[in-house]
């Protein structure tokens, strides 16, 4: 606001927000489950230049036709405020909750990880999987598929450890989140 600030861009056209500290946020977006609703949400992010790091969606209340979209995004505080406000402009959006800001959010992600190898590497892969409490859901003589649930960075670590042991394919759900405590929402 004050005139001596020089780091604000000269125009709305080059408001890049790069200089401002970006924050990472997980948003829970409750929407009416109707055709095209995901397109509206995703289209808004791309049209306005917001980032999507991860996205999950599924119907969570069949009776009321409500779906829950979980988006992990990042941006400056001003941009994050805009993302929430812009999402709420969409007619089928019932609510937007910033799970990160609420401090009560827990986050989990599920990954399926294929590791191919034989001999010592195969044994080592299985040993690390035990440490991470990953389950083996498919096995051949040369490969395992591990199922792993946890925070995203735990999955990242697991993948990093598996890479030299023959990791060749990863499938992840993206982040899910819910608030701690007895109260809903």
């Amino acid at each position: 606001m004050s005139s001596n600030q020089t780091d604000i861009p000269a125009s709305a056209y080059d408001m890049s927000h790069i200089d401002e500290a970006d924050e990472r946020r997980t948003l829970a977006i409750i929407v009416d489950n109707e055709p095209g609703v995901l397109g509206r949400v995703v289209g808004l992010f791309s049209a306005r230049g917001y980032n999507i790091e991860s996205l999950t969606v599924a119907e969570v209340d069949r009776r009321r036709h409500r779906s829950r979209i979980t988006v992990v995004t990042n941006g400056s505080p001003q941009m994050l405020e805009q993302i929430e406000a812009q999402l709420l402009r969409l007619v089928p959006v019932a609510s937007v909750t910033d799970m990160t800001k609420s401090k009560r959010g827990v986050e989990r992600e599920l990954a399926l990880i294929k590791v191919a190898g034989t001999g010592d590497k195969r044994v080592e892969a299985l040993r690390i999987a035990e440490i991470f409490r990953a389950r083996v859901i498919d096995t051949t003589n040369e490969s395992f598929i591990f199922e792993l649930t946890g925070a995203s960075d735990k999955i990242d670590q697991f993948c990093a450890l598996m890479r030299p042991l023959g990791l060749n394919e990863v499938s992840r759900t993206g982040v899910l989140s819910i608030k701690r405590g007895a109260e809903p929402g």
């Binding site: 125009s11 056209y13 408001m15 095209g36 089928p92």
Partner: protein, 592 residues
């Protein structure tokens, strides 16, 4: 779908075809006039319209014309404009008006035909993904796959188009749904649970605003299109609040008319081509009260230098407008009219006397003395500003509505045609659509058959949707198209002078039509004038003619539209009298 109807609302339910449901719903919504163009995928609706003389259908020549006409109708009446077009090209030709209505918050319901449901996705003849294409440029849209959802959807569409921050809503109806039989449901009780715009201001915020207003030494009202959208009561509430406070008022392009231009505290329009006093007041104020405006880049100029020493109150019905471009101290989410009324009541409840603004007034008068809209006159050629001035002088005492195209003529109209009432000024502000004004005039005239409706145009813009002149003739809509003809795309030429060292790349229109013959070819009257001495009598002839007129007003060719805040500059860095070519720095050159 999460729409509910009252349990009792279905008592009048009747069985009818989808097409009849559409027409019945439009009638129940109070639609008297609609604009459209038939085609294969909407024939059943046109068939139902055939036996409904209560709805006046204006047949346009191109779907874009129907959209802008609906916008003009909506902006001049406060009601939703309605357009009906076919699938495929009918729908894609509507995209520009839909985007235009979205940017300027115009309530509009667009009904598009679609190929039958079993052909959707097969690349059928005249198929396009209408909801996909319009998703990002409409407030909301629907593809109605089942006739049982149709009536409810239309009522919900009107609700969404006309409430909250208004906007365009698209309803795509496959042809088999139009033929299918279903139950009609009335509009009463149709709501949408996830759509609840906040219209009442929070009382504590009103109190806070009053406290800030009481303390202000250099206040200014910065009002926008939201005041017009909120209805004539909002404009009255603004006038009442201004009278009680004595604060000066400026407005965006979209807000002109909410506050009378003849008022002594009117500063004129602000922004890129706004008045010196308005922009200086915005820059130097200590309290800015933004009502129904959105800190658009044409208004703010350089944002790091935007009104550096003011506290800001922002009243807007759309929470996403708050802190989008400019951070404000006090946001108030509400309908402008409700907020202004609440401010009026609260202001009167504190102290009755006006604050002493003597010093601020004196400062404003000093700025005003610069006469930033002044121009050098001429006895030999018609200055475009002079043409607008004379047009204003000769039409201001009539029931007059003005629309414009986009460019220099639009800015000159905003500067020199002084509006006293809301809903009298129809222009494409946000999207900046050349070709808007002529079809908009068609829509305005359809809403106000006895009024004088003038499209202030440029010779380049007017040719973009020119064919609607034929619509005006057919439907006996006596619109006047006042073309400021300088043979250039004037604003493009001005920017090339300013930014590109007078390299006038493709901005001169060679081979212009003979506008007089053109008007006659369509069945209207053509007038031409190139002498300032004849201007008044020719304008009078235009006004007196009972039918559409094209007025070819030959004006000075290379006149620049001034004053101007060059892109990338601050409010207090206006070009007042002459362009030298070095006003814009490297950063500014990249902007639009």
């Amino acid at each position: 779908m999460d729409t509910q109807a009252h349990p009792g609302a279905d008592t009048e339910a009747r069985m009818m075809t989808g097409a009849e449901i559409v027409i019945t719903a439009l009638q129940e919504q109070g639609v008297e006039v609609m604009f459209g163009y038939p085609g294969g995928a909407v024939l059943p609706i046109y068939d139902a319209l055939y036996s409904t003389p209560e709805i006046r259908h204006i047949l346009v020549r191109h779907e874009q014309g129907a959209g802008h006409a609906a916008e003009g109708y909506a902006r001049s009446t406060g009601k939703a404009g309605v357009a009906l077009v076919t699938s495929g090209p009918g729908a894609t030709n509507m995209v520009t008006p839909i985007a235009d209505a979205m940017m300027d918050s115009i309530p509009m319901v667009v009904i598009t035909g679609q190929v039958p449901t079993h052909l959707i996705g097969t690349d059928a003849f005249q198929e396009c993904d209408t909801v996909g294409i319009t998703r990002c440029c409409a407030k909301h849209n629907y593809l109605v796959m089942d006739v049982k959802d149709l009536a409810r959807t239309i009522h919900e569409a009107f609700l969404i188009a006309t409430t909250g921050r208004p906007g365009p809503v698209v309803i795509d109806i496959p042809k088999d749904v139009q033929f299918a039989t279903g139950r009609y449901i009335g509009k009463d009780g149709v709501t949408r649970r996830t759509y609840q715009p906040q219209t009442e201001p929070h009382p504590s915020l009103i109190e806070e605003a009053i406290a800030m207003m009481r303390k202000a030494k250099k206040p200014v009202f910065y009002t926008g299109g939201g005041v017009i959208n909120s209805g004539p009561e909002a404009s009255q509430a603004l006038r009442d609040l201004q009278k009680a406070t004595g604060f000066p008022v400026t407005s965006t392009l979209m807000g002109l008319g909410a506050f009378p231009a003849s008022h002594e505290d009117w500063l004129g329009m602000l922004g890129m081509h706004g008045s010196y006093e308005a922009n200086q007041a915005m820059h130097d104020c200590d309290l800015m009260i933004c009502v129904g405006a959105r800190f658009d880049d044409r208004v703010t100029g350089r944002i790091d230098a935007f009104s550096p020493n003011s506290k800001k109150i922002h009243i807007d019905i759309d929470p996403s407008s708050i802190n989008k471009v400019i951070s404000v101290e006090l946001p108030i989410i509400a309908d402008c009219g409700n907020a202004l009324t609440a401010l009026n009541t609260a202001w009167k409840g504190t102290r009755p006397e006006k604050p002493d603004l003597t010093d601020w007034r004196a400062q404003i008068n000093a700025w005003r003395a610069r006469k930033s809209f002044a121009y050098s006159g001429s006895d030999t050629e018609i200055k475009p500003q002079y043409a607008i001035e004379r047009l204003h002088a000769l039409t201001k005492d009539r029931d007059t509505y003005i629309s414009t195209e986009v460019g220099q003529h639009q800015m000159w109209a905003a500067q020199h045609y002084h509006f006293e009432e809301p809903n009298r000024w129809m222009t494409s502000g946000g999207l900046g659509t050349m070709g808007y004004g002529l079809p908009a005039a068609v829509g305005i005239q359809a809403a106000h058959p006895d009024a004088l409706v003038i499209d202030i145009a440029g010779e380049a813009s007017v040719q973009m949707v020119l064919q609607e002149l034929s619509t005006a003739v057919q439907h006996k809509l006596p619109i006047k198209i006042f073309v400021l003809n300088n043979e250039w795309m004037g604003m493009v030429r001005q920017w090339q002078e300013l930014l590109h060292e007078e390299r006038y790349s493709h901005s001169y229109s060679d081979s212009l039509p003979d506008f007089v013959k053109l008007a006659e070819a369509y069945g209207g009257l053509g007038l031409v004038c190139d002498d300032p001495k004849d201007l008044d009598s020719k304008i009078q002839e235009m006004i007196d003619y009972d039918g559409p007129v094209v007025f070819d007003c030959r004006v000075t060719k290379a006149e620049n539209c001034l004053p101007m805040i060059p892109s990338g500059a601050a409010h207090n860095e206006m070009i007042l009298s002459e362009i030298t070519g070095d006003e814009i720095d490297e950063t500014g050159r990249g902007l639009v």
